[in-house]
Subunit: 199 residues, 2 copies
Amino acid sequence: MAFHDFIRDDAGWATLHRETLFEHPYLAVEQVRVYSPARPEPYDWTVCQRKAGVVVAAESLAGGFVLVRQERVAVRATLWEFPAGQIDQGGVHGWKDVLETGLRELQEEAGYEAGADAEVVPIHHFLSSPGFTDEHCYQIWVKGAAPSALGVNRDANERITEVRLFTPSELRAMVASGEIRDANTLCCLARLSALGMRW
Amino acid sequence: MAFHDFIRDDAGWATLHRETLFEHPYLAVEQVRVYSPARPEPYDWTVCQRKAGVVVAAESLAGGFVLVRQERVAVRATLWEFPAGQIDQGGVHGWKDVLETGLRELQEEAGYEAGADAEVVPIHHFLSSPGFTDEHCYQIWVKGAAPSALGVNRDANERITEVRLFTPSELRAMVASGEIRDANTLCCLARLSALGMRW
């Protein structure tokens, strides 16, 4: 997301001032002064900028959802999650780019692809922690994933140790117990519930 | 979360080196070199450190869940969310502290409290974006919230413009449409689904 507007938009937002406090390949920190819709006076906020992401809830033709088990240094844990990845800056012009990136992550991380009669459904996005970061993650639902002839092709930053299919009732137990605990997977499951998918 | 161990723990994690790249009242950025369970060689990662949070799914005695509408500068949007807040550093010694903070946020942000016969259920936590931050948010379910005689008491950093009860079916529609899109609320709803609460 790039916000260059110092003129109030229709909702009432405007950025009066912005200053980069920290820059790094994986995140940047900006101090901004904004007008917001609800306040007469501008106020200051600290925003951590991140690339957007995409997460893929892929239902296999064989039954069950594709999950990868991944080492997460920031929380010193190895977690079962839906396949996901970041979208290269400037690369998101619409759902077409998001779907391409999502399907590439599904193949590279998990070795699965959209099967011959698959339906690839763009769902929405979610915001991982809007109190401090602009990070948002697009959500895709692949109905009819199948093992890919290309196999997996993980980049050097991936820390994936396992791939497995889980049935909806296994997912339910893992969410209830807390074993599944990353926002990518939980937020997809919340959307799938709302869209009528039973798990 | 503080990780000071340079000796491998039982899971296989050890931190060989850590360097603070950026410090700020709301976040810090650290470069770490770790041993992980799955790799023979240590590797480097960038971790954004944040305080833990707590989010409260409060079901009113009158029916419906308590949501607050809040301005979120980082994403330039005003969102309907479950009440939530950060937990003061060093203040988390167990669920007792988390529940206290959660109930305080419920009262201060929304003007609700646990009613006379309320059940306050600690659920679990979720990780907002474990690829880059240690931020985790504890989840609480209050069955039987009631308006508080103390009213609301918002601090200067709150940007809450409205409080309302939403029925489970209203929540469902807002999740399906994407109107609800913060991880706090979506991840709570996923847990409630898994625990058998229909929404």
